[in-house]
Amino acid sequence: MSAVMAQAPSTALLTVEHLTMQFGGLIAIGDVSFEAFPREITAVIGPNGAGKTTLFNCLTGFYKPTVGRLTLRHPTRGDFLLERMEGYDIPEHAGVARTFQNIRLFPQMSVLENLIIAQHNKLMRASGFTFAGLLGLPVYRNAEKQAVELAKYWLDHINLTERADWNAGNLPYGDQRRLEIARAMCTEPALLCLDEPAAGLNPKESAELNQLLTYIRDQHGIGLLLIEHDMSVVMGISDHIVVLDYGRKISDGTPEFIRNDPAVIRAYLGEEGDDEDAADG
C-alpha cells in the first residue's frame, strides 16, 4: 500500500503515512496510513478508544504526531505537511476545518456571530488589523457584508435563518450540531473533519444530517472525514471507510467490503473463543 502511495503524483486530498501518536507508554495510534479523496466522504470507525479522535487531533494540529507524515494537497494553494504546522495555521492555510465530539460553539454569542467569527482571518485582514475598521473604511464594511452573505448561505442550508439572532447556546441540540458544521464550512475548507456529528441525534435529524453532508460533498467538492458510531450514517453516505482498533488500522475499503470483513466483525462483535485472546493481549 505504502509503496503505491510513494509514487506521486497522487490525487488524494489527504495522505496519512505511518502516523503514530504515543502518550508516554500508551500508543494511541500505531502506524496508520490511509488516504482521503476530494468529493468523497471517508468514514473512520472503530470501537471506543480506537484512536479516532486522536487521529483528528493530529490532523488539526492539536497534537504533534510522534511519527508520520500528514500531507494535504490543497486544490488551489499547494501541498501542506500538517504535522509541521502550528495548530491555528492549519484551518487558515491548509484549509482543514473540524467539529468536536462535544459541541464547541460560542454559546453566549448569536448564531450569526458564530458564523462570522469563523471568517475571522479574512475579516481581520479586511479591517486592516482593526485600524481601517476603527475608521469605518468601506473596505471593511464590504468585507463584513460579504461575510454576512456567506453566513446567510449556510444559515439557509441548516434552516437557522429565522433564529440567526438567538444565542447559540439556546438552540436545540440537533441545531447546535448543524450550526457547528456550518461554522466549520464558513472557514471555506478543503477538508472537513467531523467528530461524531450524529451523536445524540434522533433518526429524523440524522437523516437531515446525511442530506447536509452529501450536499457539502457534491456541491462544494471538498473531502469529508467522518468519525461516526451511527452505522446508518456511516453506511448510508460514506464512499470509503477506514476501521481502527486499538490504534491500528484493521481494514480499509468500500462500505460493502467493510461490512463483510471478518477482521471488522471480530473487532466489533468479538468472536467465539476470542475472549481468551483478549484477556492475554
Partner: protein
C-alpha cells in the same frame, strides 16, 4: 419561599428564636467592633466604651428581623405601626439632638448612621403600608423579586440608549449645578476615574474573559511614566499621555507573554503577582522612582498651553486669557472634564471595537479557546491585543491620576485597587458598559459619601456588594446584545 405565599403565621416562638439568633450575631459582631474605641488622649491611648451603641444595634437587629418576618407573612399593619413612628422618632432625635446634648447626636453618635437608620425604618414602614393597602399584593417571594429585578435590568438595558446620553448630559452640566461644591466634584472625578478603569478592565475581563487581578499595575505604569518623564525630561502632560499609554501597553504585552497558556484561577494568581512585582519595584528602586517617598511636584495639565493657576510661571494663565476672575474651582472643573473625555474615549473605543473582528475574537476566546483555534484564530495575538489595549487605558487613567494628585507613591497602587476595579466590572455585569457606570457610582461614590464613618465606611462598600450579590448574582446589568443582527430587534419595528 413556599411558606411565604400562604399567610401561615410563624409561631411567635420560632419568630423570637430567629430574631434572637440575628440579634446574637449582631451583638457578637458589634461588641468588640462598636463597643470599644481606642482614642488618643493626652499622655497616651485610652479605651473608650460605647455599649449604648451595641445595645441599640442589637435591639434594632432584633426588631428589624421580626418586622421582616412579619412582612414576609403579609402581617403588615403592626409593622407599619411600629416602623413609621420609629422613623419619625429617629428623625426628630437626629434633627434636635443638638438641643439635647451639643456634644453628640442621638440615638447614635454619627449622623450618617442615624440617617441610614431613618431611611431603613422609613422604607420598612412604607413597604408595610403599601402591602397593607394592596392587601397582600403579589411581590413577596424571592422568585417574584428576582423576576421584578430582571424586568428592571432588561428595562435599564433597553433604556441604556437613552440613559447613556442622559447620564453624559448630567455629567457635562454637573460642575455648573448649584450643589456642585468642591467635595462633590472631587468625588465625581474619582468615580469617573474608576468608571474609566472599569471600562479598560472590561476589555480584558468582560470581553476576553481573562481574569486579571493585577490591573492596577498598568495604572501604576501610566502614573509613573508621566511622573518620571516629567521629572527627568521636563515633558508636559499632553506629551506624556500617549507615551504613558504606550508604555502601559508594552507592560501589558510583557505580562501577556508568560501567561498565554494559563487560564482561570492560574491566570488570576499570576496577574496578581505581576501587580505586586510592579509595586515592589517602584518601592525599592529608590534612586530612580524615589521609593516610598514617591514623586512630588508633578506638573498640572494645561488647557492648550494655558496654565490653570493663579500666577503663570511663564506666559498667560487660563483666567487671564479668557478675562475671568481666578477661581481655584477652574482647575477642578477642568480635571473633571479631562477625565470625562478620557473615559468617553475608552467607552467609544470599546463599543466600536466590539463590533470589529478583533472584538468578536476576544468574546469568542472567552467562550471557547479550543474552538477558536479550530477556526484558525491565533489565540496568542488575540490575547496579547486584549492585554495591551486594556493596559493602555489603565495607563491613560494612571497618568491622569498622577497629574490630578500632583504626588504619587507606591501606596496608591496596592492590590485593593485592583480588587475594587475588578469588583466594579463583575458587579456591573461582565461586558456591560452601562453596568460599570452604576457599579462605580455604587462602590466608589457611596463610601465617599460615608466618609464620616471613617474606617467603617468600607462597610458601605461591603453592603453594596452583598446587596448586588443577593439581588443580581450575575451583575447589575448582565445582558449581551449581539454585535450584528440579521433581523431587526423584536419590539423595535413595532414601537414598544
Amino acid at each position: 419561599m413556599a411558606e411565604a405565599v400562604a399567610a401561615s403565621a410563624t409561631p411567635p416562638r420560632a419568630m423570637l428564636r430567629e430574631a434572637g439568633l440575628i440579634a446574637l450575631v449582631v451583638f457578637g459582631l458589634s461588641f468588640s467592633l462598636v463597643g470599644f474605641k481606642i482614642e488618643d488622649v493626652p499622655g497616651g491611648l485610652a479605651i473608650l466604651t460605647r455599649f449604648d451603641g451595641v445595645f441599640f444595634a442589637t435591639a434594632l437587629a432584633f426588631f428589624g428581623r421580626i418586622a421582616l418576618i412579619m412582612l414576609r407573612e403579609q402581617r403588615a399593619l403592626p409593622v407599619a405601626l411600629v416602623a413609621l413612628p420609629t422613623a419619625a422618632l429617629v428623625l426628630l432625635l437626629q434633627l434636635f439632638s443638638g438641643d439635647l446634648d451639643p456634644e453628640r447626636s442621638y440615638p447614635f453618635r454619627s449622623g450618617v448612621v442615624n440617617w441610614s437608620l431613618f431611611a431603613v425604618a422609613l422604607a420598612l414602614g412604607l413597604r408595610a403600608v403599601w402591602l397593607a393597602w394592596h392587601h397582600g399584593g403579589s411581590l413577596t417571594g424571592r422568585e417574584a423579586r428576582d423576576a421584578a429585578m430582571d424586568r428592571v435590568g432588561a428595562k435599564v438595558q433597553h433604556a441604556a440608549r437613552f440613559l447613556g446620553p442622559a447620564l453624559l448630559g448630567f455629567a457635562i452640566v454637573l460642575p455648573f449645578l448649584p450643589f456642585a461644591d468642591r467635595r462633590l466634584l472631587d468625588i465625581a472625578i474619582l468615580v469617573v476615574t474608576y468608571i474609566m478603569l472599569g471600562w479598560g478592565l472590561n476589555i480584558v475581563v468582560g470581553l476576553a474573559g481573562l481574569l486579571d487581578l493585577g490591573y492596577v499595575a498598568f495604572y501604576a505604569v501610566g502614573a509613573y511614566s508621566y511622573a518620571l518623564l516629567a521629572q527627568y525630561f521636563d515633558l508636559g502632560f499632553w506629551t506624556c499621555l500617549p507615551l504613558a499609554g504606550i508604555l502601559a501597553a508594552f507592560a501589558g504585552i510583557l505580562l501577556g507573554f508568560p501567561v498565554l497558556r494559563l487560564r482561570g484561577d492560574y491566570l488570576a494568581i499570576v496577574t496578581l503577582g505581576f501587580g505586586e512585582i510592579i509595586r515592589v519595584i517602584l518601592l525599592n528602586w529608590y534612586t530612580f522612582t524615589g521609593g516610598p517617598d514617591g514623586i512630588s511636584g508633578i506638573p498640572r495639565p494645561t488647557f492648550f498651553g494655558l496654565e490653570l493657576t493663579k500666577r503663570a510661571t511663564d506666559g498667560e494663565t487660563f483666567h487671564q486669557f479668557f478675562g475671568l476672575t481666578y477661581s481655584p474651582m477652574d482647575r477642578i472643573i477642568f480635571l473633571f472634564y479631562l477625565i470625562l473625555a478620557l473615559a468617553l474615549i475608552t467607552n467609544l473605543f470599546t463599543l466600536r471595537i466590539r463590533k470589529l473582528p478583533i472584538g468578536r475574537a476576544w468574546e469568542a476566546l472567552r467562550e471557547d479557546e479550543i474552538a477558536c483555534r479550530s477556526l484558525g484564530m491565533n489565540p496568542r495575538n488575540t490575547k496579547l491585543t486584549a492585554f495591551s489595549i486594556g493596559a493602555m487605558f489603565g495607563g491613560f487613567g494612571g497618568s491622569f491620576f498622577a497629574t490630578r494628585q500632583g504626588f504619587i507613591s507606591p501606596e496608591s497602587f496596592t492590590f485593593i485597587e485592583s480588587a475594587v476595579i475588578l469588583a466594579i466590572v463583575v458587579l456591573g455585569g461582565m461586558g456591560s458598559q452601562i453596568g460599570v457606570v452604576f457599579a462605580a457610582i455604587l462602590l466608589i461614590g457611596l463610601p465617599e459619601f460615608f466618609r464620616e464613618l471613617q474606617q467603617y465606611r468600607m462597610l458601605a462598600f461591603g453592603l453594596a456588594m452583598v446587596m448586588i450579590m443577593v439581588w443580581r448574582p450575575s451583575g447589575l446589568l448582565a445582558h449581551r446584545e449581539p454585535t450584528l443582527r440579521l433581523h431587526p430587534k423584536p419590539g423595535q419595528e413595532n414601537a414598544s
